[in-house]
């Protein structure tokens, strides 16, 4: 297995002859993808082949008196140690497998920098990462050595996210100087091949996590974006960032006061902001779960992260009131992030079928901070309003970028800055204006700082954060945790039932909650509630404005007047949810 860097055109660098690193690891092999690999693999499939979005550009310093040969040896040892760095993703007839090559070679570029080798290496790393990896044929690592006056000073790297996640990068960073120094490190005890075998053991792990997902899928809003779409901006997805030491100080103070972690404070804050803008008291976020709390996984280089479902009932009280329960929901999510994605997707479809709407969980939060916390925050007393106000003078917000395609409607994330709240918000402008992302950042800081000194009722979060809640036109109504457009739902039902007539009614479900009933005239192909539900679900796939009726009433003929459906003779009635092979209509 081989790899080679692309031609670098970085200013201030002179290319020297490239070198070849040969490696031979302890073993090779082929196995199914681990659940963590499946997560990233699915994300890469969502993009076009060759898209470099999931590439990681990275730079490692070379300190001391190591010469070029020592650095190249260290690169070889690194690839030999970690099987993930010599893994290809190959079709296996049923899907995709991981294939670990025992041996191979990597071409490493060598460059002489005119000055500032680390800066030059960063630019070189970005260049190396600008081209997508051929996952089936190429090593998931490209690298080049940057020298100054003939002495190696930095290693520029481009890595596939399929090979390493943030946790693994930190592991490699810790090993790198020791490998350069020629130290003989103990072999890793756990690799993705071992993990793949564990995940297929009997009984398989992950049953508790699957129960957690089932519960969440039943209680989450079917979408946080159940409101009218808007004309998207170009490019459609925009991302803003913020650097706010004050937000970090405030979050620390709130965490200490309420006995929770800063990660939970930020999660609940994101839920509160999103809930305030979208009109939801219950918020559903997918948290990126590192899955590193088990010692074996803590020592494995390779992708382990999976998405975890976090449903937070914000309640009717204050932001502070929501922190304790929100913390427990957050912890439960992090604890239940290791699962078989195929089983969760099946549960997802099953629950969508039962609830009568595709369940859209395209709101994410990724806390990437090292060990999930800040370190070295400025010594400012959060209880001193003047000091906190002064610190807010250092807050900076900035535009990060705009993208044509992202698999998220909103994506909150921290950055790795240790001494400040580095925070990012990405929005899909087909649902929220791009400026909302920027306002949410300022709103996050305001919410946290305000909550240190006063109670912030959740129904005032939008006002406090300076956010404009979405407006739903007449005809939208709340049914359980979901907002539904009744005119659009009725129009969809009529289209599905055409050429026969149909109508939608909001009726009392018996427990005080409104339920939707669909009335229609039965005709061939639409002569049972199950057949109608199948057709409605197919037509509603991907929509966040409609909800399939909870009950279908099939009549032999339409009523004399539109108000007369309830009194019509009935051929059949029911919820149409009886399990059938047709439950795969969503085709997820």
């Amino acid at each position: 297995m081989t790899g080679s860097p692309s031609a670098a055109q970085v200013t201030g660098l002179t290319a020297l002859p490239p070198r070849t690193v040969e490696f031979r690891g302890a073993r090779g092999g082929q196995a199914a993808l681990t659940w963590g690999q499946q997560g990233i693999w699915r994300s890469t499939r969502w993009l076009d082949d060759g898209d470099p979005y999931f590439n990681l550009a990275w730079t490692l310093p070379v300190t001391g008196a190591a010469d070029l040969d020592a650095v190249l040896r260290a690169v070889g040892r690194l690839i030999e140690r970690h099987e993930t760095l010599r893994t290809a993703y190959v079709p296996d007839g049923k899907g995709t497998s991981q294939r670990v090559s025992r041996e191979g070679r990597l071409t490493v570029g060598v460059y002489e920098a005119a000055a500032k080798p680390m800066s030059a290496a960063k630019a070189l790393a970005a260049e190396l990462a600008s081209t997508g990896f051929d996952y089936a044929a190429e090593l998931p690592i490209r690298c080049a050595v940057v020298c100054l006056k003939g002495r190696p000073r930095a290693l520029a790297l481009a890595l596939s996210h399929l090979a390493l996640d943030g946790w693994s990068l930190n592991m490699v960073a810790a090993e790198w100087p020791r490998l350069v120094a020629g130290e003989d490190l103990p072999a890793p005890e756990w690799q993705p091949l071992d993990q793949a075998a564990f995940e297929r053991s009997d009984p398989p792990p992950g049953s508790q996590a699957l129960r957690h997902w089932r519960t969440g899928l039943a209680s989450a809003p079917r979408s946080m974006f159940d409101f009218p779409r808007r004309e998207p901006e170009e490019p459609r997805f925009v991302r803003y960032g913020m650097d706010s030491p004050a937000a970090a100080i405030a979050a620390e103070a709130l965490a200490a006061r309420h006995g929770v972690t800063t990660s939970s404070v930020l999660t609940v804050a994101c839920a509160a902001l999103l809930g305030a803008v979208t009109g939801h008291r219950t918020a559903a976020l997918q948290l990126i779960v590192s899955n590193r709390h088990h010692p074996r996984m803590g020592g494995m280089a390779g992708p382990a992260a999976q998405d975890g479902l976090c449903v937070i009932d914000l309640g009717d009280g204050t932001f502070a009131d929501a922190l304790g329960p929100g913390h427990r929901r957050t912890m439960a999510t992090y604890r239940n992030g290791h699962y078989d994605p195929a089983l969760v997707l099946a549960a997802w479809d099953e629950q969508a079928w039962r609830r009568g709407a595709d369940i859209d969980l395209d709101a994410f939060f990724n806390d990437v901070r090292h060990a999930g916390r800040w370190q070295g925050l400025p010594p400012v007393d959060a209880g001193d309003p003047a000091a906190l106000a002064a610190l807010r003078g250092r807050t900076r917000t900035f535009f990060v970028g705009a993208y044509a395609k992202v698999k998220a409607k909103i994506f909150f994330a921290t950055g790795p800055a240790p001494a400040s709240c580095e925070f990012y918000v990405l929005v899909d402008t087909a649902f929220l204006p791009g400026r909302t992302a920027e306002r949410m950042l300022a709103g996050l800081e305001e919410l946290l700082v305000r909550a240190v000194t006063e109670e912030v009722p959740l129904d005032r979060v939008a006002q406090v954060a300076g956010l404009e809640p979405v407006r739903r036109p007449a005809g939208w109504t709340a049914i359980g945790p979901d907002w539904v457009s009744l005119p659009e739902t009725e129009a969809l039902l009529r289209r599905v039932c055409a050429p026969g007539p149909a109508a939608l009614a909001v009726e009392d479900g018996g427990d005080g909650t409104p339920r939707l009933t669909g009335y229609l005239v039965a005709h061939p192909g639409l002569d049972t509630p199950e057949a109608v539900h199948t057709a409605v679900m197919r037509a509603a796939a991907g929509r966040t404005d409609v909800l399939a009726p909870h009950r279908y009433v099939l009549c032999p003929a339409p009523p004399a007047t539109p108000a007369g459906w309830a009194g019509c003779p009935r051929l059949a009635e029911g919820d149409g949810r009886t399990p059938s092979p047709a439950t795969t209509v969503l085709g997820r």
Partner: protein, 77 residues
Amino acid sequence: MLRERVAELVAKASGGELAAADVLAASCGLPALGLNSLAYLRLIDLVETEFDCDVDLDGGYLDTLDGLVEHIAGQLK
């Protein structure tokens, strides 16, 4: 005795950042001591393995050493 053992598990879960004696002496909750989310998850794994019990994350007892000890004692009965 149980309290001391749980404090040792807290120290172990923290990756050595906290000493069991500090955990025992602290008057504040575990997050205020610096126990982060990852350490919490390690702690729950350790407690469940050591005491063969289920730690329900929806309980508020996770916030303090004494709350956790009380919960484990209740499970052991």
